[in-house]
């Protein structure tokens, strides 16, 4: 079974995001970019499936700017076998919407015929939480989102999902799409020798046009603004003072 892992290049989760003064977006020039943290978890899970003999090839895919090559090299260094870069944007300010990403991924799935797509639950830049579900819809496949435990067994998968009420376990027919949540595993770091080896692994470069997918956004970004600031608070010196302040504020 082949496993396809879509990985997105996003702003590093430790970077403090700044909204551009003219309201046209956030400042992505010269900031550290990394693989979306959820996608690291997806890559890790795919590699573990391979190590367990349940998958024979792990293919990482990224859609966006040319620089997403680096993200794919990270996936290769972690242990993916090969990578596909789909260049669909020429500016880092241009985000490809989940619907367009899902359409491109659907074409790649047609070509590669994986038994499983493992994606992140959410990209930490647009916070949309949509691509896996959309891809599943386009393919007419089953979906198992927000996975914290995955057990693949031939033509089905048992997946435990993190939901508002606690945990839900479902059994889905394969091929399937699983979106991974934070507690599925702890991704490994790529070792230096593996980083070197990754440079020689195949990385195919394509464009959105190669797949005949129109990536024109459906959502026009009218403006991007700062969230409202909280008024400065005060420090209290003791629990008694805290209780007093809370009573004054009518909070308790």
């Amino acid at each position: 079974m082949k496993v396809l892992v879509p990985v997105k290049r996003v702003i590093d989760y430790n970077v403090k995001v700044r909204v551009k003064a003219d309201g046209t977006g956030v400042d992505l020039a010269n900031v550290k970019m990394s693989m979306n943290p959820f996608d690291e978890i997806a890559v890790e899970e795919a590699i573990r499936l391979k190590e367990a003999g349940k998958a024979d090839e792990v293919i990482a895919v990224s859609i966006g700017v040319k620089q997403a090559q680096e993200t794919l090299r990270t996936a290769l260094a972690m242990g993916a076998d090969r990578a596909i870069l789909v260049v669909a944007a020429d500016s880092v300010d241009q985000d490809i919407e989940p619907l367009a990403v899902a359409k491109i991924l659907a074409k790649i799935v047609e070509e590669e015929q994986p038994g499983l797509v493992l994606c992140g639950k959410q990209a930490i830049d647009n916070d949309m939480n949509a691509t896996g579900q959309m891809l599943s819809a386009l393919l007419g496949w089953s979906q198992a989102t927000f996975a914290s435990e995955v057990d693949i067994d031939g033509d089905s998968a048992v997946v435990t999902r993190e939901v508002d009420g606690g945990l839900q376990t479902i059994k889905v027919a394969t091929p399937t799409i699983i979106s991974v949540d934070l507690r599925l595993n702890e991704p490994r770091y790529a070792s230096l020798p593996n980083i070197m080896k990754a440079k020689k692994k195949p990385l195919d470069e394509k464009t959105a046009a190669d797949y005949g997918v129109d990536v024109t956004p459906r959502l026009e970004v009218v403006k991007t603004s700062e969230p409202s600031e909280r008024a400065a608070g005060i420090m209290v010196g003791s629990v008694d003072e805290l209780v007093e302040k809370l009573k004054e504020a009518g909070a308790v």
């Binding site: 956030v26 949509a130 914290s148 508002d164 376990t169 507690r183 420090m235």
Partner: protein
């Protein structure tokens, strides 16, 4: 304009708070039809009919809809979609599972976690863990939206909408429910509680989380946790507050032993009053706190429990 709103139904019961908050957001867009779907959903439909601003309720009952599996629920919504300009839901994990699937089947984008309605095509939503607010204008024929419930007040009760039944769509039969692990609790629900007491890695163990729970119980509050506390096994996953957990905006949020990473702030910084208890005076949580106390939580939290109420 006509809006189809997917009600939050759990085991046949309407989740009133989440649904009523989404109704408030949806009312601004047009006449609201609520869809109550489940293995049993009639009671939920009747409850939804009483929400102010609901024009009509559709009840769909079928075994396949029992556990809100994405495939049959999305198929049902798509079968009804033709009549509506907007298809919306509260931004719960159930709806986030289903709505993007609906959107893709309709060949439209989804807008997740919308926090404000500007006009029928234009919406605000937070991005980058709430560090920026994006205003987006949709050019799609049908707008598919989940509303972040913490930013809308619940619609009142007092309506008397008509209730109709509709049939389920064909179940594609791709997935089946195995089990739910739901922690029963007498505490208020995290996303609708007036007070939330949260603990972080600083609490140190599952055992010691009891002191957080004791304070919560004294205040009639819900209990929350940081990701680190959940990852470490001190607290269950459904307590996680943050960018990728639950978003809360209670009257009072008390954070103990939580550093205040942006991913945590994303889930609580719209709370009315924030109290932070941390032994590190440099902890970023103090930047959003109305009242900050530099203290050892093992002393401060029990003392607070004793002195309150």
């Amino acid at each position: 304009m006509a809006v189809l709103l997917l009600a939050e139904v759990n085991n046949g019961e309407l989740a009133m708070d989440a649904t009523a908050k989404a109704v408030t957001a949806a009312k601004a867009l047009g006449d609201v039809t609520v869809l109550a779907a489940g293995a049993s959903a009639a009671a939920a439909g009747d409850a939804a009919a009483k929400i102010d601003g609901v024009a009509k309720v559709l009840v769909a009952e079928d075994a396949s809809l029992g556990h809100r599996l994405a495939e049959p629920t999305a198929a049902l919504i798509v079968s009804l979609a033709g009549d509506y300009s907007h298809i919306v839901a509260p931004a719960t994990t159930d709806a986030k599972n289903v709505m993007p699937r609906v959107a893709a089947l309709l060949d439209v984008m989804v807008m997740s976690d919308v926090t404000a309605v500007v006009d029928a095509d234009t919406f605000e939503r937070p991005i980058y863990a709430g560090n920026a607010i994006q205003t987006v204008k949709s050019s799609d024929a049908t707008k598919v939206i989940t509303f972040r419930t913490s930013t809308f007040d619940a619609a009142g009760e007092g309506g008397s909408a008509s209730v109709e039944t509709v049939g389920a769509a064909d179940n594609p039969g791709l997935s089946e429910w195995v089990e739910d692990k739901v922690a029963e609790s007498d505490r208020p629900e995290l996303t609708s509680a007036g007070i939330v007491v949260s603990g972080g890695r600083g609490v140190g163990s599952e055992e010691d989380f009891k002191i957080i729970e004791a304070l919560a119980d004294k205040l009639g509050a819900a209990v929350g946790a940081s990701r680190a506390a959940v990852d470490s096994g001190y607290a269950p996953n459904d307590w996680q507050v943050g960018q990728t957990g639950k978003v809360v905006a209670p009257e009072l949020y008390i954070a103990a032993g939580i550093s205040g990473a942006i991913q945590h702030l994303a889930g609580m910084k719209d709370s009315k009053i924030i109290v932070a208890i941390n032994k590190d005076e440099e902890a970023p949580i103090f930047q959003v706190a109305d009242f900050g106390l530099v203290a050892d939580l093992f002393e401060a939290v029990p003392a607070l429990t004793e002195k309150l109420g």
